[in-house]
Symmetry: D2
């Protein structure tokens, strides 16, 4: 449980920090201008491609990939960034300081990261060659199609999309939405979750197939907005109809019935990445507040002299410090005992971090006044993004209920656990 | 302190309700389609104009105007809707059920309402004829230019815009933003607050002038976004530069040095209208939640069976009921003792209602899952609107500090007040 | 829905206020001294009896009793205080300003008030003569025995105490606790709830019997503490064993199977009285804070100059104002449509008022520092009392769930309700 | 920043855990009975002395003392427990599971721990021999006299007690209160803070003297209650008058003018100990809730099946996990960079832990219903204790303002700090 940055972490953190200072932050207004100039476009703007090229040159590419590929114990790809979750944590946090640009610049943006991990873990060599390599290169993008408009998809039992075997093919029928990145013309791959066997046990009904976006029967209906933002520069969030979409049987990812387990495996790292980045976003908010409160004067003094601003800033700092440690511990657990054993902690940060960072951003908006809700400062967009995290991968309440149920079912009281399991809240020995 | 609806209120409420059911709610998807078809347009869409015509026919027009024009004790215009604040409260609440359409359909939308009240109270007959009549008719729109990008405008001392007398003219120089409605081509009038005498006592430095939008030197720089929304269908929120803008001396509203007092007079009714509408918005959210929770199934039953959803709905209901009564009391005080004496209550609802309704909407979004942040349900946009109210007319914190200071300065303890002043928390007799 | 105090209310409020100022507040330190001098005693101290005599002389006695006895539609006793709930509200609020002394001084303290209402409503003439008259006179006290240590008594189905008919007698067997006032030597009557027919429908299993405290088989085990206080001066909170306790059949209150319904009827007024008093307690806290914040100096100025104190005071004021109106509306509904129709509002205030007042007191304690938790200021004891209200008559959560369920089950949306039922949130017409 | 328990920690934790299970928990009802039997007594009850003897035998004594005595860099006493703060953290947390007995059983209870640290650091050899040795042996107790009833003592400038040099003596005059433990007949030493030079710079005016409790002029006025509890079994909380109290000049602790600095040095470890214990208290609450929720049935099922209970338990678990890590980091910082450099973290946990644990206990009380506020379960007393922590060593708000001010004054933004200072939020290099 040593969270101190080692030499590798210090080195990579410093380099990513320099990249942010030198390249990413100056690129923020450039991106805004390029988006304003091409409002109809769903593809990466030139500044993004430039940043990606620069990051690659600087060796800051695919840092999210754990050693040996993806996830502890995962198969070696020889292509991973080689960072443990604990080493990656401060890197991801840094990218959250400029979340529209930095993650994608480093090829570390959702949903591609999750999809690459999925492929690294579960894909056949042929599937990897066709789909994983271009994703790792950054020459292609991908989307993950799980959420459905017609049902509460946080309950995997509700998935209505069908994946039916028909001879040498699978036939996919259903409707998905909030497929992030799917509107990007570079998006070639749709990872689709559906039911292959509705009669199987609860968590063995689902499977995943790899569907080329240009397959006949795939219709991108529209890009959705998220709290008013269409995130067009990232490829948006698509609603997609799958109407009798046929893919060869070799497009199945993993085995039939393994869809739920693979989704869980995918979501663990995804959630911690979201949380790491959210902490960087919170630091951005605090930096903005610090500057604003120093220079803005009202009622006889700078805002920094107001008791309420002080209390807000102190509260924000405390929350960041406590939650960062919980994120680091989660990363360390994932590295040492695996994603499954870190389940409680992953749920805990998934719930706690977006809530706290949302509050931190909300208070920052109040300090900024009207400017805070405008597009001139990043706060409004950051707020929308973090608010959405409270729903991403299932509403918080699903995770709260699950975590609470597990906690209530423990058989060992504190005194039985305290000695033997200092490192995790899970896994009663009794 | 009788809050029961009288015959007039019952009648008008029923008619506005019918109008909502018959006309406004069906028009919501029409507006969405018309906006999608003309994404570059800042003017009212045809469906809005149609609703306005229908409302006029039904005698549902300018209902916001108190008897005798605007505000208790105001000058008679003969054009008012004739409703007291208390009578208007349920009407305004109803319009908040569909806040993008209903207020404007009834010619009861900010900022025109506030501007009409200003003009009814303080304008000369010539000013009224030129500006108030077309606003009352709905043939023209107006904007209110107070907030400035460069300073914390919640402190009126900070206003940097200058209004300098030069012979028979006033010369306006400065920069304003968040001038709601100003991008609408129908907007003819800008009510501009600035300083005429920076050396005068604190609250006598400011004045207001009536500036035609097409005056040379007026530049509409851009429409701003508010939490991602440009509110284009309402004329947006403009940033405006006033560069040596010359208007005749007769364009002064009220007297020199009366700007601050007029702004205060304007904001009181404006705040209560916002709060009334926000309660209707909260009722909309609860209706949406009720439907969704009944039909949406997860983990073995409808969402309505989940304890957390029940607790949210109960909490929301309690908050609405308590705050509605406080809004009604505020309206009643404004009607009976005037806006100034109702100051504490106006501040109280300005602070409490947007906070509570924001929470109600936030919980509703969680119940809806991804759909809640999408543009397919009204929740995301409603949330953005209510969030902004926590900054409109000054951040909550300014009002909290002011209300707290007043409360701490009272000399009479509860036992001295309780008998003599059951109707207001203000105005210590000692 | 007219909440303004009428002439009767103004008169009685003024007289109760004067009584508080002249008699009750000066008696607070006297009570403290008398309790300190007789720490083992569970009976009323002399100062309480003196205050009661004075109140009677002043005609301030039994004010809680509605016209015609108890509850709308109740039988005439000719002994009521003659105040409606709405008229009584400010009186009860005043007594909450000094809650250890004022309610009991006016013979308006729980649990006697609830028991007197029960008797006025449901007792036979013989029962009234024996039990109600001395309670109304204040010559005897009573206790209400519902809560049981062994079960979650908020679910009436769980009641384990048995009341078994045996010839001309009922035999009571069971264990009760938190029987407030039962340790007082003046307590003659125990109103006991138990099951007469465990096989009957859910809410017809329970009955009530009137048990003289000195009946053989009744054992007062001990006085319980409530958050550290034994409330000894009020007769404490007793744990009582009923071991084969025999009372004549005529001791049955109402009919067999009517226990649940009578308990509900009793609790409605009880809850609103608690809430009214809690608001007076909140006003006491604010008065104390105002004084303290003015005189206490830290870090260069009085506490009143600190932004956080201002924000607290403002927040407290807003909550009091909103919740007072909701309490008044509830009282008005109880007066006009009856306790049952006011069910939602009764639940709403039962939940919201103790929560808010608890927060108000908690913040007041912070302003007072160490003195706030000491026994030198009333805050610590007030905090304990209000905290307990969140459990009295069932935990808040039971009421939240019930209110939420009802709200989710409404069939009529807002627009169907708004015109026809402005006065209550309950009772959908559909 | 390695928080994993080392071999020493695992060993000592296991032994303290066994001591809790074998001795302390069974002693809880014994203590209750002994206190009930001798309600007037302020001294340790026999069961406490027995536990102390047993702990000593088991080698579980004075564990709070860091290696080399007290505090990193402190003078060697040869008598310390030899544990670093990080090693002591889980031990202290365990003692919080039974906070009335475990800390005192191990001679690790406030205020003696703080006083022993003070003496170990700053006392002369003669002072140590006279005062520190018996404290380390547990044959005598001590009290710390800082808080004063007449002023806001969280601002050290307000201290009114005077310590005036008069020849070979110091003369102490003033009034202190909340001197915890001072009513215990075993208490021999009062460490008194007062002003020696009111004209010196702000933080050089104060000094400390060691006053034997039986010195003429020392009057113990009374034992105070804290939220209703007099903590009599621990020696209570005394109000003490110092009237012309004379001690020899050799009774000065440290130098003149060093009182403030010594108080700060004392409070750092004191605060972290409070926080560590509070986390153990929270674990106790969760264990109690788990048991109760499993066995208690209402409305058709165990409480554990209710969504709200699940959400509470999950929230509590998350808060405990995050805050424990922050406490561990604080301990680690104190061990590695010293108490002063850990100032921000000490403030952070001082604010955050009691708040969170207070909420955890408050929710636990709701789960327990009436039993939760009674004396039959430990929750009510634990709640009072943790509530008091929000005021101990100054109200939270003082620390929030201080932390917020420091945060707002940082010059280095996140990107300048992130690389060089991963381990602390303090100490900008710029």
């Amino acid at each position: 449980m040593d969270f101190a940055p080692d030499a590798t972490t210090r080195d990579i953190t410093a380099r990513v920090r320099d990249f942010l200072v030198d390249e990413v932050l100056p690129a923020e207004p450039v991106l805004a201008a390029q988006v304003a100039a091409t409002p109809e476009d769903w593809s990466f703007r030139p500044v993004v491609r430039h940043l990606q090229a620069t990051a690659k040159e600087r060796g800051l590419w695919n840092l999210f990939l754990p050693p040996g590929g993806a996830g502890s114990g995962g198969p070696a790809t020889g292509r991973g960034g080689g960072l443990t979750n604990l080493q990656y944590a401060p890197v991801a946090e840094l990218t959250g300081y400029s979340p529209r640009l930095a993650p994608v610049a480093l090829n570390c943006a959702a949903p591609d990261t999750g999809n690459m991990e999925l492929l690294a873990h579960f894909a056949t060599p042929e599937q990897r060659e066709r789909w994983l390599d271009p994703l790792l290169e950054g020459t292609q993008r991908s989307a993950f199609c799980m959420t459905e408009p017609a049902v509460a998809s946080s309950d995997a039992m509700n998935i209505a999309t069908r994946i039916v075997r028909d001879g040498d093919e699978y036939v996919v029928t259903g409707r998905k939405w909030f497929a992030t990145g799917a509107m990007n013309p570079d998006c070639g791959l749709l990872v689709v979750m559906g039911k292959t066997d509705p009669g199987a046990p609860r968590h063995r009904q689902q499977s995943m197939v790899l569907v080329p976006r240009d397959t006949p029967g795939v219709t991108l209906l529209r890009g959705l907005t998220v709290l008013g933002y269409d995130d067009r520069d990232h490829g948006g969030h698509a609603e997609i109809v799958f109407d009798d979409v046929r893919v060869p049987a070799s497009a199945l990812l993993g085995g039939e019935g393994e869809g739920f387990a693979m989704a869980q495996a995918r979501l663990g790292p995804g959630r911690i990445h979201h949380c790491m980045r959210a902490l960087g976003t919170a630091e951005r908010a605090l930096d903005l507040v610090r500057e604003r409160a120093a220079e803005r004067v009202a009622f006889g003094g700078p805002l920094a002299d107001q008791g309420v601003v002080r209390e807000w800033v102190a509260t924000s700092r405390i929350e960041i410090e406590a939650l960062r440690l919980l994120v680091l511990k989660t990363a360390w657990l994932m590295d040492t005992v695996g994603n499954k054993a870190a389940m409680t902690e992953i749920q805990a940060i998934k719930i706690a971090v977006p809530r706290a960072v949302g509050q931190i951003l909300d208070r920052a908006v109040q300090v900024f006044g009207a400017a805070g809700v405008s597009g001139d400062h990043p706060l409004a967009e950051l707020l929308a993004g973090v608010r959405t995290l409270r729903l991403a991968d299932g509403p918080d309440e699903v995770h709260l209920a699950s975590l609470g149920r597990a906690e209530l079912r423990r058989r060992a009281p504190y005194l039985a656990r305290v000695v033997h399991q200092p490192s995790t809240v899970e896994g009663d020995p009794t």
